[in-house]
């Protein structure tokens, strides 16, 4: 196993862990956390595997295109988190609920 494949596997593990937590937890803040960890995993797959190509220069720089894409992804993730949290806080203020209310607990 090489270093890129290693980090690719770690990324996939994070994706699966996040997915498990997303399904299992009812609390919406935990679902947001789970999605954030999933997206970190996807980014790790994206950047980790990019190290397979022999880099140029010293230190060998990573492929800039996946880096740019992951930067975009990080910003999208924080936007999603902000929007989700605003909606969740509003739901809590309106109903007192911090879950979707139709799963678990009933």
């Amino acid at each position: 196993m090489t270093q890129p494949v290693f980090w690719g596997l770690v990324g996939m593990a994070l994706v699966v862990m996040g997915l498990y937590a997303l399904i299992v937890h009812a609390h919406l803040l935990r679902k947001v956390l789970a999605l954030n960890i999933m997206s970190s995993g996807v980014f790790l797959v994206f950047i980790g595997l990019a190290r397979r190509a022999p880099g140029e220069g010293t230190p060998p720089a990573a492929d800039p295109v996946p880096q740019a894409m992951v930067l975009t992804g990080i910003v999208v993730a924080v936007a999603a988190t902000g929007l989700a949290l605003a909606l969740i806080v509003r739901l809590r203020a309106l109903t007192g609920r911090t879950t979707l209310g139709d799963e678990g607990g009933h």
Binding site: M12, M69, G82
Partner: protein, 246 residues
């Protein structure tokens, strides 16, 4: 976090909510144990498939590092990531800025800002911004400028500015009058507006295409866009923190 408040009527909440609200109990879980085991097994299988995909990717890798390096001198900047973000794939970055503005619109449409996290700030929090904020603004400016030839750029700089906003908010300071509603909106859309405007002008030049920066002006254009984008990102992230419209 101290003991959560027990609200009247919480007895009628779903049990999972009650568990979530009381910090001492187990993490709330929506599924019965058997379903969780089955789910874990299924996800283990999913991980197997994903791992197989990763393992099957051959070496050496195809990639665009060489293609970027080849055209780097036409991009106006010497840092490859900035060249990709603001020139080669600048359109992605434009849409990403729109995503941020949209998140702001969505957040504002939901309700009013409810102040920063609430607590009356302690002495540390009141003093901290006075020391940290100028330093952070300085670092943000440096990151923006250095992005042309080394790691850094509008996003890192903008998020630092956002951090400044969050600190100021936490320290209980209010925005100066000039930064109230209308100019807040202007700053929030500035990045997208400048990017769109320049991109459209570039398309209308003879032989041009949308977002096609002429190599001679590319560096100026990119820095202009980055400056506007940094301000927008900072303002939007800080505004998202307050959780609603001002």
């Amino acid at each position: 976090m101290t003991e959560p408040q027990h609200r009247p009527g919480s007895g009628r909440q779903p049990a999972s909510d009650g568990a979530a609200a009381s910090g001492t109990s187990r993490a709330p879980e929506a599924l019965p144990p058997l379903a969780r085991v089955l789910l874990a097994l299924a996800l283990l299988g999913l991980f197997g498939g994903l791992a197989a995909a990763v393992l099957s990717l051959a070496q050496p890798a195809p990639g665009l590092a060489a293609a970027v390096a080849e055209r780097l001198d036409e991009s106006g900047v010497s840092h490859p990531v900035t060249a990709v973000l603001l020139n080669f794939r600048g359109y992605d970055t434009l849409l990403e800025l729109v995503v941020l503005v949209l998140a702001l619109m969505g957040t504002w449409s939901v309700g009013r800002a409810r102040g920063c996290a609430g607590n009356a700030p302690g002495p540390l929090l009141r003093q901290l911004p006075g020391l940290l904020a100028p330093l952070m603004v300085l670092v943000a400016g440096y990151l923006l400028w250095v992005g042309a030839h080394a790691p850094g750029g509008a996003f890192q700089a903008g998020s630092l500015l956002g951090g400044v906003g969050i600190l100021l908010c936490l320290s209980g300071r209010t925005l100066p009058p000039w930064a109230q509603r209308p100019s807040l909106r202007v700053l929030a859309v500035l990045g997208v507006a400048v990017f769109t405007l320049l991109g459209t002008v570039a398309a209308l030049l003879p032989g041009g295409a949308p977002l096609d920066w002429p190599p001679a002006q590319a560096k100026t254009l990119i820095l202009t866009i980055e400056l506007a984008a940094m301000l927008s990102i900072g303002v939007i992230l800080a505004a998202l923190f307050t959780g609603g419209r001002p």
